[in-house]
């Protein structure tokens, strides 16, 4: 939701390892089941770097592994719709309010708790202000088939009647 | 030389339905005459024990000899019945059999009335022959099980 920006950004981890802070780059690195929440926005990953670009504006890079990809979850302004996504690396740009999911990215929209439209791609970019998504294939080197953007639209209740 | 008298083969069905025949089909009439009296012909397939389904019941009359001045001298009569047996639900029992009889009949326009009667007698005999072969097959069907 748009209101998430005004909420405080909370970063937690399982505490097994200490967080390290690099003052010169103004970044904090947290490791071990890290969870970042800001309002309805929630990102989980193994390792997260959080930067404060400007007072009150943060950006983060969450790294997951093939076995345990980083996940992203946020409620949308529309009633009762939630976006869930996962990828090897999730870059959250607080300033531009844009999320980039890179590497075996998958995204799903849940309507009233039921899984609806789905998408897979090499890179998925979610621009919140514009409410737009961009799906891109892998770079020519990578295996094109696996990462070619693929969207699946499930018929919506009200849209199943074709316009007469 | 190996010949024995033919043994009576019973038609083991009481109720048979003739389906696929055109209304007033002469072939269906011939089958009614040849089926043993014990076998009753029912209209609805549901009430029957076995169905005789006609795939093709056709009479061909073609001119095979005529004079130089367009007078017909010979007709060829061909009666053909393609049929298969089916259970009351309509599933086929065995494949489609084709029986055909072909006879030539001399003709002259002057004797049109008499030739009409002769043709009818010839066709009745040809259809009776086909009907007898169908009844033999019906009896054989009984032996080999429904």
């Amino acid at each position: 939701e748009r209101a998430d920006r005004t909420k405080p950004l909370v970063v937690e981890s399982d505490g097994k390892k200490a967080a390290s802070v690099d003052l010169s780059k103004r970044t904090t690195t947290v490791v071990g089941n890290v969870v970042i929440t800001q309002g309805t926005l929630q990102i989980k990953a193994d390792k997260v770097d959080v930067r404060e670009d400007a007072p009150g504006r943060f950006s983060a890079t969450a790294l997951g592994s093939a076995a345990q990809p980083a996940t992203f979850r946020q409620k949308r302004d529309r009633v009762d719709e939630v976006i869930e996504a996962q990828a090897l690396r999730i870059e959250y740009d607080g300033g531009a309010d844009r999320i980039r999911l890179v590497g075996e990215a998958r995204m799903r929209i849940l309507r009233a708790g039921q899984p609806a439209d789905e998408a897979t791609a090499a890179v998925i970019v979610y621009d919140q202000p514009g409410d737009t998504l961009t799906f891109e294939g892998g770079s020519p080197g990578s295996s094109a088939a696996a990462s070619r953007p693929r969207l699946v639209f499930v018929p919506r209740a009200e849209s199943t009647e074709a316009p007469r | 030389c190996g010949f024995q008298l033919r043994q009576p083969t019973e038609v083991p069905f009481e109720r048979i339905a003739l389906s696929g025949f055109a209304p007033r089909s002469a072939m269906a009439e011939a089958l009614r005459r040849e089926l043993p009296a014990r076998v009753r012909i029912v209209d609805a397939a549901a009430q029957s024990e076995v169905q005789l389904v006609a795939d093709e019941d056709v009479l061909h009359r073609t001119v095979v000899a005529s004079t130089a001045a367009g007078q017909v001298r010979e007709f060829r009569l061909r009666v053909r019945l393609r049929f298969h047996f089916a259970n009351p639900a309509g599933e086929a029992l065995g494949g489609v059999t084709e029986l055909e009889q072909m006879r030539d009949l001399s003709y002259s326009e002057t004797a049109a009335l008499g030739k009409e009667v002769e043709e009818a007698a010839l066709l009745r005999e040809m259809r009776a022959d086909i009907a007898r072969q169908v009844v033999r097959r019906l009896a054989a069907l009984g032996q080999t099980g429904r």
Binding site: R78, P149, L151 | V63, A68
Partner: protein, 736 residues
Amino acid sequence: MRIDTADTITLEADRIETQLDDLSVARGSVDLRQGSLRLTTDLLEFSTRQRRAWARAPVRIEQQGNLLEGRSASVQIDSREGQIDAARYRIARTGGGGAARQLSFVGTERLAAEQASYTSCRADDPDTADWVLKADKLSLDFEHNDGRAEGASLRFLGVPILALPVLSFPATGERKSGWLPPTIYPFDSRNGFELETPYYFNLAPDHDLTLTPGLLTRRGLSLTGEYRYLWTQDEGRLKAHWLPNDRTTGRSRGGADIDLQGERASGLHYQLDLQHASDDNYWKDFSRVLPSLTPRLLAQDVRATQPLQSWLGVPLQAYARVLGWRTLQVLEAPILPPYQRLPQLGLMGQGETLGGLNWSTQMEVNHFLLRNRASGDTRTDGERAHLLGALWWPQDLAWGWFTPRMAINAASYRTEQAMSDGRTRAHRAIPTLSLDAGLRFERATALFGRALQQTLEPRLHYVRTPWRNQDALPNFDSSVNDFNEVSIYQDNGFSGVDFVTDVHQVTLGAGSRWFDPVGGGELLRLGLAQRYLFKDQRITPERLGASGLSAETGVAASRFSDVLLFGSSTVVPQWRFDVNLQYNTDRQRTTRSILAARWNPGDFKTLSATYRFARELSEQVELGWQWPIYQREAPRADGSACGGTLYGVGRINFSRRDARVTEGLAGLEYDAGCWIGRVVAERVSTGTSEATTRLMVQLELIGLSRLGPSPLKVLKDNIPGYRMLRDDGAASTTSP
């Protein structure tokens, strides 16, 4: 048509930008699928709310085998309705396809195109296909298998052969009014070039009208009308042909053919078959119009039958009939017209009493009348009332049968002119006693190494009919039976009521059949029969003429009848032989014989030869063939097995008595995969020195319709074993 809207839509591409809840834009080898629909392009917009896709780049749409390619397209996914521009299309169902400036479709059921071309030939560019139909507007409805082209023009091998404002093809199912493809006879020795363009009026679902204006270069304009109706209990077809002014004869000419029948709940069935021709030469010039098998004898037959529930509870049937004849005379070969029945009224019944005694009876009254009789024709008109009765007691046990039979043939006559003995009234009653008995033997045997079942049925037929004087009686409806394996076991040597042969004879015969016990097909049938007469027969077949019995010759006829040998065999694979021989033992010569052989090695390959001899009646040799002459190239990859095969087809009927070809038919058939061309030349002798030759050209565009007259009917009727190209089973027609 159920569209599976429940199906999900999948969209793949190199890059996709989606405005959530609305438009997605996909770029780079885009592939959109839903159920059986698949759309591929390079630039696509897809609205999730409307579930509609717009292809902005060259697009390809596949649906259940149909293929559409175009510059751009838009498709409503759920209803499968869409448009496509600058399209090329191919329809799986008809194998046809072509190009169109703009094409809209609804699933795979309906398709409408503008500035379209349509052909069933496989060609990269439709314009270079063997045949192509171009139309301003083309609509194809596959649910009703109905096509309609407006502003249509048809090009065949580059030559424009047809242009019509509206062309409907193949008009099946829900019929639409419009022009039907025209028929062309490029050459007819009597009518010259003929062109007919039928127009079809779909008046209502249960009746329609086809009007066919025609042009005959040697005769002028003609009009043929055919009205058909199909009601719940009645159906009918009325056809009339009219030539207002025939330039060669200077008179108006015409023909009519009316076919009606129907029934009523009471069981009444009526049938009306009327044919009429305006003049005696009509059959030579317009043989296609009247479907009569006897071209020079046209029947005018109205009959009705009504079953009655009689007081004995035994079903009787009353019948009434009026039968007239229109005889077309030819000077050098006149026909002595048969009697007309004006009317025929009768009652008949058949039944079985207790104890298995069968009876049958027929009571009938006839008024016989001759129409436009020739000057020398001395036959008298008159009335006849007759009663036929029979009692028989069939005993059929599987191994044999035994059927004694008693019959009576009583008739009374009243003639307009005096009979040869001066009387105008006469009656006679002729009893007959007969016995039919036989045995049935069977055995398993083998022939040419095939296990077969063989039956052997010796049969005896004894007949005793006393002589009754019939010398002076007129011959209204009797004729001599052919001597074949059916008539040899019959009681009377004549068919009809007037005359009964006085016989005291016994016929001995035997028939044997070999058939395949599993498949049931009969492979070989042989039979032999001969009669022995206990006393001389006074009323012999030779004495019966059109006007009654000729004088007795007094010559002692032989006590042994002709020997009858008959057989037919399909024992030798691919071959079929038929033999029918009637041999006169006294004069040591055949009276009648039919020898036929047919070789049918494969589909569309058949050769047949038949020799027919009937002493003093006819002697004919008939050759028939259908054979592939030339094969252009190996069957094409697209599975049309006989792309480019030329077949020779034909039949020649030579009468040795007239030393002339009475009927000749030779043709070529070329199957080019997407079209079949037939050229058939037909020569029908219409006189000892006169004949009609006719050339028929037919072009059958597969997936469109037949263009031109159908020589098929001619070929199918006349060439034994002829198999239509493009038709798996032998197409058989039900003729009356």
